[in-house]
Symmetry: C2
Subunit: 211 residues, 2 copies
C-alpha cells in the first residue's frame, strides 16, 4: 500500500476492468503471481502503462517479484465497486433485452438481475428466465422496495427519454443505455448514464478495417 488514492482517469478504469477479466482467467488456471510485463503482453499494452494503472489502486506489488493475482483481483474489484452484489433491473424486453437478460457474464461479475419491465400488455405477466415481466408502472415501487442500483435500458429510441425520467424518479442511480439514441438525465438528477451501442462498435471496426 502506497498512496491515499487520487481521481482515477476514465481510460484507466476501463483498462482495470480488462485486467480484472484476465486476472480472473489466470486465477482459474492456477496462476498465483504475475508481472506487469505479462499483463501488458496479454492485452497488447505497454508495461509502463500497466504499472501506472495499477499504482492507482494504492496497492503494491513486490519489486523484483511482481503482483499476487489474488491481491490484484481484490484491489481492482474494490476500486470498481464490484466487490459486492449490484441489484439490476432490465427495462424493455424486446429482442435485445431478452438476450441481455440471459447473459451469463453479468451474474459472474456480481450483477444480479432482479426484475424486468415493459409497456407491452402482451408481454406483461409472461416469464423471462426466472422472472416475470412487469408493467413499467410497477417500476418505482419495485425499485424502492428492492433498493435497485442499476437499470439496463433496452427500449426503442422513441421511448428512451421518457423511460429515463421514470428510472430517475424511481431513484436508480445508474443506467446502462442500449437504446440507439442519446438521452439526457434531467437537470437536477445525479443519475449516471453510460452509453452502449452494438452497431456503433461494428462501425468503429469497419472504420479500422478500411484504413
Amino acid at each position: 500500500m502506497t498512496k491515499p488514492r487520487q481521481q482515477i482517469p476514465k481510460a484507466t478504469v476501463t483498462r482495470l476492468a480488462f485486467y480484472l477479466r484476465e486476472l480472473q482467467q489466470m486465477q482459474r488456471s492456477g496462476l498465483a503471481n504475475i508481472q506487469s510485463r505479462a499483463i501488458a503482453e496479454r492485452l497488447g499494452l505497454n508495461d509502463s502503462q500497466v504499472r501506472r494503472d495499477i499504482s492507482c489502486l494504492g496497492t503494491v506489488g513486490q519489486r523484483g517479484v511482481g503482483y499476487q493475482v489474488e491481491d490484484l483481483i481484490q484491489s481492482i474489484q474494490s476500486i470498481l465497486g464490484t466487490d459486492r452484489i449490484w441489484k439490476v433491473i432490465l427495462v424493455g424486453v424486446g429482442n435485445l433485452g431478452r438476450a441481455l437478460s440471459g447473459y451469463r457474464g453479468f451474474q459472474e461479475q456480481g450483477f444480479d438481475l432482479l426484475g424486468a419491465f415493459d409497456t407491452d400488455a402482451e408481454k406483461i405477466g409472461k416469464p423471462i428466465g426466472q422472472l416475470k415481466i412487469q408493467s413499467l408502472d410497477q417500476l418505482g415501487t419495485f425499485a424502492k422496495l428492492h433498493a435497485i442500483d442499476l437499470a439496463i435500458l433496452a427500449v426503442p429510441a422513441d421511448a428512451a427519454q421518457s423511460v429515463v425520467f421514470a428510472i430517475e424518479a424511481a431513484g436508480i442511480p445508474g443506467i446502462l443505455n442500449f437504446a440507439p439514441i442519446a438521452v439526457q438525465p434531467s437537470v437536477h438528477s445525479k443519475t449516471i448514464i453510460q452509453e452502449v451501442d452494438l452497431a456503433i462498435e461494428l462501425q468503429r471496426l469497419a472504420f479500422s478495417v478500411v484504413r
Copy 2:
C-alpha cells in the same frame, strides 16, 4: 470541401458514429439543417469539439447557417465506411450469439448477417432466424465464397483464441470480439480485433455510480 483529410483520431471516430446516429434520428423527424451547438447539446459535448470532429470529414457547413443533415450523414458514412453493405458472419451461437443475430440495429446500419457457425453438433443444421447454423469447419469455404468482411465472435473464453486463428485463416479482416478474454491476432495477420464486453460496461457504470 476543405482539406485532403488526415489521420482521424480514434476518439473522433467514435463520436462521429454517435453524431451519425442522432443525425439519422433528426432526418427521420424531418430536420434538414443543424448547428454544431445543437449537436453538442444533444450529446452533452462541447461545440468546439463537434466542429473540430466534423472538420475531419473534409466537408463543410455554411458559416452563419450550419450543416445540411443529409450532407453530414453522407460524409460521416463515407468516412466510417458504412456507405456500403458489410457482409458479416456470427461465430458462436450461444445465448449471446443468438441475441446478437436478431439485433435489428446491425441491419439498419448496413451490416448484413449472412452466416452463423458453431462447433456443437446439436446445433448444426438448426435454424437461427433466416439462417441455418453451420459447422465451424465450413467457415473458410463459406467466407471465401461470400467474401465475408466481418465476424462477430461470441464463443466461450476458452475457445476464443483458436477461433480467431480460424477466422484469420478464412481471410476475414475484422473481428468484433464478445468473448470475455483478450485474444491476439497471429503475428503476420492484419486482422483487426475490436473488443466489446457487456459486463465491463456495467463495471464502468458501477465505478461512476460509486464516485
